[in-house]
Symmetry: C2
Subunit: 449 residues, 2 copies
């Protein structure tokens, strides 16, 4: 029987990163990655296939990343933990010394009447399916996107760019509400509305209607929206059947339960990425955050811990960014609502300034940072930034502050670098100024006159 030192089930972000790092950390050569799909999609790139990129082929994760790890295209159907083997759909059995489950997630399919009709699509990470979707989109005019989270808005925006009329339907009061502060949600909605996208919030979908294929959706309010196609992006469900059947425990958000070293209860089996349970950086409680960036991080950690617990997962911070219309938005850590739920007394500091300096530099645009702090400890809890492209890295600066538990004072004094072409003026640098402004609100603690 074929046997490998390390078998990784799943070859998307988490699985590939685990393979890379098992080689880097341990010089491990005998690694097998088992993947269902012939080619792996860049997960975050999927919406861009339908506008900016223009083809599925342009959104492929290169398998060269795997280095010396071998790749087997196939589906693992069962796992025998006693024998330490994985059975494939074609009947082959493969032995492992260590196993990493990186089985990912599947699009959440809500129980909406009519969801099985033709013309209803999901973001399956499958090249053939996504190519079919490309052909289907090509022929239609009116698209309804159900779900106003990142994936929904990105799909909507890309379909808009390629000339379609798009309506987004979001159940909650605002798009992006679960991860963004309200002002950012509104900003995203306004931007997309200006670009011609019809956004309906605070309204769910009661049914998808049509003879054979989707022709309209009926909202909970009773309103009907005509369409040629429906794209659903309302979240994902961890792929845990293999783990569950093998007796591994599943956590409250539906992921495989792991400890701080990405280990399951079986000392030879690890789980990483969308299929694994995540725990909050702030309080260690399970959190439903599923992102490729988190998956790669967990892949690294599992690889480091394969033979001995070494790297502790400090927990999931939740760092997001997106671009809708011309507006880049990014956020890290707790939203105000979540911070309040965890019992923090939240102090907000905000700052806005031109993204370049002086503000007369070409292409200078407003860049705003909003930071949330715990009033008692002064520590940063979360933050967001908009609207220029540099927020993609500003949010990582915010994330660095979060993981290092920086206080308002430390951030106000942070030694940032600045440059006319690249950042705001040092006099009004948004990250440090937002902290100064939060301090100003609680100035009883720093006042000395």
């Amino acid at each position: 029987m074929e046997k490998h030192e390390l078998v990784i089930i799943g070859g998307s972000a988490g699985g590939i990163q685990a393979a890379i790092c098992a080689q880097k950390h341990h010089g491990l050569k005998d690694i097998l990655v088992i993947r269902i799909e012939e080619k792996a999609m860049v997960p975050c790139g999927i919406p861009y296939i339908y506008g900016t990129l223009g083809s599925v082929e342009k959104n492929i994760m290169p398998d060269t990343l795997l280095g010396e790890a071998k790749l087997r295209i196939g589906e693992a159907v069962s796992l025998d933990r006693e024998k330490k083997t994985v059975k494939l759909k074609d009947g082959d059995e493969i032995g492992y010394n260590k196993l990493i489950l990186a089985t990912g997630s599947s699009p959440l399919q809500p129980p909406i009447p009519g969801i099985d009709k033709k013309g209803v699509w999901f973001a399956w990470k499958n090249t053939d399916y996504l190519e079919e979707l490309a052909k289907a989109i090509d022929g239609v005019g009116e698209i309804v996107v159900i779900g106003g989270g990142f994936i929904g808005l990105e799909f909507a925006d890309e379909c808009r760019k390629s000339g379609h009329n798009v309506t987004v339907i979001e159940l909650l009061e605002h798009c992006l509400q679960l991860v963004c502060s309200t002002d950012l949600c509104i900003r995203a909605e306004e931007t997309l509305t200006e670009k011609g996208i019809n956004i309906i919030t605070g309204n769910g979908v009661k049914s998808i209607n049509g003879a054979e294929k989707a022709e309209s959706v009926t909202l909970q309010s009773g309103e009907q929206v005509a369409c040629d196609m429906v794209i659903i992006g309302i979240g994902v469900v961890p792929n845990v059947r293999l783990a569950k059947d093998a007796g591994l425990e599943i956590g409250p958000t539906g992921g495989i339960k792991v400890d701080e070293f990405q280990r399951t209860a079986d000392q030879d089996i690890f789980a990483v990425g969308d299929c694994a349970e995540k725990y909050s950086f702030f309080n260690g409680e399970p959190v439903p955050v599923r992102l490729a960036s988190v998956a790669t991080r967990e892949g690294k950690i599992a690889a480091a811990n394969l033979f001995q617990a070494q790297w502790r997962n400090i927990g999931t911070v939740g760092v997001f960014s997106t671009v809708v219309g011309d507006t880049a938005l990014a956020m890290a850590g707790l939203t105000d609502t979540n911070a309040q739920k965890l019992g923090y007394a939240v102090v907000i500091g905000e700052a806005q300034a031109a993204s370049k300096h002086p503000g007369t530099m070409p292409d200078a645009h407003p860049l705003r940072v909003r930071l949330a702090f715990d009033r008692r400890s002064g520590k940063i809890l979360g933050g967001c930034a908009c609207c220029t492209q540099s927020v993609g890295e500003v949010v990582n600066l915010i994330a660095a502050a979060i993981v290092n538990e920086m206080t308002m004072e430390q951030i106000a004094m942070f030694p940032m670098g600045t440059h006319p072409w690249l950042t705001a003026s040092p006099l009004v640098y948004q990250f440090t100024d937002a902290a100064s402004n939060a301090l100003h609100k609680v100035k009883g603690t720093v006042q000395a006159v």
Copy 2:
């Protein structure tokens, strides 16, 4: 006699920030800022007047930033510490309770024969002078820039953009050598050379020649370079005469000696910005780093400490960025050379990937990060990034890692956010990957097989 709770001498970056923060932190209303210049220049914007901005008027720091602080245009000529008064050139005497010296710096004027000739210019932060320089540049074809540091290269590049033939002369082996790793120095030189700038390194200027005005320079090698004008940007000298005459101590790099709270030996007098001595974050020793971003930080710290020592200056990290040609470069912390001088065993980790992902996204360009770590503690010592605009914030992420003394492991596991439009793929995110690659080099410490 006029008297104020707080008098700030100098109204550029450090002085203005001190005035802002004295209001923010203490609600202080009775603040007087004394400034020689009618209008304050954005210091880092000065080179851009001569290309991108096109006029001095576009490079003015707005005095509205001062809030309720009063502004007096005038020159402080002496300081009586016993009487706690400042005397102005016009004879007026002004009393203070607390005094912040933010007198800045002046361009370094090297003892080169011919330096007093017409047509030899410096980056004086003075609107009239800089307007004269604009007129002078307008009429000429050949410009020699002496000094291949940031200011020199930026002047050279802007003059090039406005159609001049430019030669840069740098005494050291490479441009930017004092702050950049060699590969970045070379990259900057190559970029500027491709754009048509003539770069001469490892060669000083022996004399500036011409009947009345500069017509050529003679290099130490004997070579002559013809020119219509010379711009000198080889560093600055702290303006400390006022402090020195008042008996305040001057440190080894020529700045006013201050403690970790920005206090001079006189408990009522603080010094910030270019006129103040800086101390290394790494070992507390004096360092000759003079930047507007450092000045604003010290302004904040001095303001917070006016009435009671509260905020400790953790020391100067040194965070720089620039754009030459189309290439953005940024660096933070110790160069390899400086790290070795301080006795660290340096381990380098590097990573390069497309700035967007997949790499097929429009305008994706290589972005490279290079991090230096102390082998023993694993802590980050410095880092640099090039070549896309996002390095302006990537370097601040590196700076955050430095001030928080993050280790290779912590950075390798850093929970960055990623997005197709805004960053590299999470699989190859440069900041975390550079740390992984450094770890890989010392993998004896993490190997467990």
